[in-house]
């Protein structure tokens, strides 16, 4: 093959690849736009005037940005209280569940016990029981405990750990035994070994687990809906839902603004840690 025809072939291959790439980019941009539009729509609607909302075809940039919609939305329901509730529920739930997961994972990875593997299967078997099955029984249990409409009633039934325990255990099993032996020689007990050897080394897994649990608990809807019965105990998703059925007249722009209150924290967490979260899902460490 002469040098010229080779370079021509090369340029033709490059041209075809370029065309294919352009095609791929077009499709991916289109898909990203379609997926992203609901977010943009929510933001622009939240900033529209009450008449602009009812213009069709819709406008994307409001004439005047109505930031006061957020104030109106915030004042139309006790959102400060909802935020506080959501914060308390999510943070305490995450702390407890991570702690429980870490203790379980460490025990099953590092402490001797007869029939340890069989016991671990019992924990994994809990995955087979859908949460929907537990709604009525747990409600009855909570009633007996006097926990209806309390923070502990919302939080405690959902801090046992199966997935978290499983993946932290995998991480702990991957840590070389010498490190634990060294800690032991220094006189550390199991709790110290967990806190000063296992957890620091498993920090990436721990961080992903924490973020994931935070998002899951922040978004939870069905259980808090069942256990709460007064407005001052409601977390954000329930408060938002009730807002739609509020007596006072609220427009779509206020509903979108209120929805943003609820979504903002999880979107921020997601975009700050998106690579880590997506990678851990790709590697099978988290179930959606």
């Amino acid at each position: 093959m002469s040098e010229r025809s080779a370079s021509r072939l090369h340029s033709r291959v490059a041209w075809r690849r370029g065309l294919r790439n352009a095609g791929s980019h077009t499709l991916l941009v289109a898909s990203s736009v379609v997926v992203g539009l609901p977010f943009l729509w929510m933001i622009t609607t939240a900033l529209k005037g009450s008449k602009e909302v009812y213009i069709f075809p819709p406008i994307w940039v409001p004439k005047v940005l109505r930031w006061d919609n957020f104030v109106t939305a915030w004042e139309s329901a006790p959102f400060a209280r909802f935020y506080l509730n959501s914060g308390i529920i999510a943070v305490s739930g995450v702390v407890l569940e991570v702690l429980i997961a870490a203790l379980t994972a460490y025990a099953f990875a590092r402490i001797e016990f007869p029939a340890r593997e069989a016991l671990f299967m019992i924990i994994l078997a809990a995955m087979m029981i859908p949460g929907q099955l537990a709604l009525i029984p747990n409600y009855v249990t909570l009633k007996q405990l006097g926990w209806i409409n309390t923070y502990q009633g919302i939080v405690i039934p959902h801090v046992s750990s199966v997935f978290g325990a499983f993946f932290l255990r995998q991480a702990f099993l991957g840590i070389s035994a010498e490190l634990f032996d060294a800690a032991k020689i220094d006189g550390a007990g199991h709790l110290r070994a967990l806190l000063s050897v296992a957890l620091p080394i498993a920090r990436p897994v721990l961080a992903t687990l924490t973020l994931y649990l935070f998002i899951a608990k922040w978004n939870a809807y069905l259980w808090p809906l069942i256990v709460t019965n007064t407005q001052n105990m409601r977390p954000l998703p329930i408060g938002l839902f009730m807002l739609r059925h509020a007596e006072y007249q609220i427009g779509p722009e206020h509903l979108m603004a209120a929805s943003l209150f609820v979504l903002a924290p999880v979107l921020v967490v997601f975009f700050l840690a998106q690579k880590q979260l997506i990678d851990s899902i790709a590697s099978g460490a988290i179930k959606g």
């Binding site: 402490i111 087979m128 537990a134 009525i136 809807y221 839902f241 779509p252 690579k275």
Partner: protein, 312 residues
């Protein structure tokens, strides 16, 4: 003195007594128990006990307040068979599961194939398409309700461009489930795409090279290499998405409340209505038991098949 006779009593005691544990070992065992106790207690009370209690309640009639739970045998299950709403709700759930899972997986696979190339900006596309995954369903359902508005909603724009009128998505009994399917796809697409992408990246590239040497291209590569080798991933996603769709609740609760005329009512929402709106805890428990058994069966089939069906 008489030597102590090995009486049957002594022998039995020796057998029953566990071999004496060393002090160190006993401490290990105690630490283990202390470490796992919180999780085991919580799982027992809030996960395993509910399984037993649901079976128990499914044979009773109880309004969740009365002191007695009347035994009614299988009548709750009998009622389910005779309840036309129960069947409607089950059909709706299947419709939702079938529609959402199929379309979502096809789109997710297409996107994963697009992203599985050497392209600039891959991470950005991936992040955007994935971003709905972790969003709060209630907020998302609020936004979509407004998108579906037949007069001022965003979705009316492309429909009008195609010369179509917008259906009354959330008030026309024919369009409620499709609307829920659309939101379900939007929210779940990114997760499936990421799992497919991981599956694609685990296919050894030398297979493609060998096939290319044999002159295979494009579609044939996909049909003979990609798709068969991806089957474990596809299968996993079909199962998990189906189970997920069977548990649908949030979006239905917010967008339609199951209506109009139960046209968008789904299994878990109807269960919730029976339990916490009408206080028919026996009937709702029977529904929960059936849901549990169906999901259990699907899971067991998955475990069996994925053992046999994995192509490597």
């Amino acid at each position: 003195m008489f030597p102590e006779r090995p009486s049957p009593w002594n022998r039995a005691r020796a057998l029953l007594q566990p071999p004496r544990l060393g002090r160190r070992r006993r401490r290990e065992y105690l630490s283990f128990l202390a470490f796992v106790a919180p999780n085991f207690i919580l799982l027992s009370v809030f996960t395993f006990w509910p399984l037993i209690y649901s079976f128990f309640l499914s044979f009773r009639k109880w309004n969740m307040i009365a002191p007695t739970k009347e035994f009614v045998g299988l009548s709750n299950y009998g009622k389910m068979i005779a309840d036309s709403v129960y069947w409607q709700v089950s059909r709706n759930t299947l419709y939702l599961a079938g529609g959402a899972v199929f379309i979502k997986l096809v789109l997710a696979l297409a996107l994963a194939l697009l992203l599985n190339q050497r392209l600039g900006g891959r991470a950005v596309y991936r992040a955007i398409i994935f971003s709905p995954t972790f969003t709060t369903s209630v907020a998302v359902a609020m936004v979509w309700s407004w998108i579906f508005d037949p007069f001022y909603g965003l979705l009316r724009v492309p429909l009008n461009l195609l010369g179509l009128a917008s259906p009354r998505w959330l008030s026309d009994i024919r369009w409620t489930i499709p609307a829920i399917i659309i939101v379900t796809i939007w929210q779940g697409l990114g997760y499936d795409m990421v799992i497919f992408l991981a599956g694609l990246q685990s296919i050894p590239t030398d297979l493609y090279e060998a096939a290319r040497v044999d002159g295979a291209t494009g579609w044939r590569l996909f049909r003979n290499i990609t798709f068969p080798l991806l089957s474990p991933t596809t299968f996993f996603l079909v199962i998990t998405s189906t189970i997920g769709a069977m548990k649908a609740f949030d979006i239905v609760a917010v967008m339609t409340g199951g209506g109009p005329m139960n046209s968008s009512n789904v299994y878990v929402y109807y269960l919730y209505q029976n339990a916490f709106r009408w206080f028919k805890s026996g009937y709702a428990s029977a529904m929960a038991v059936v849901l549990f058994l169906v999901i259990l069966m699907i899971t067991l089939v998955q475990v069996r098949l994925s053992r046999r069906w994995v192509h490597y």
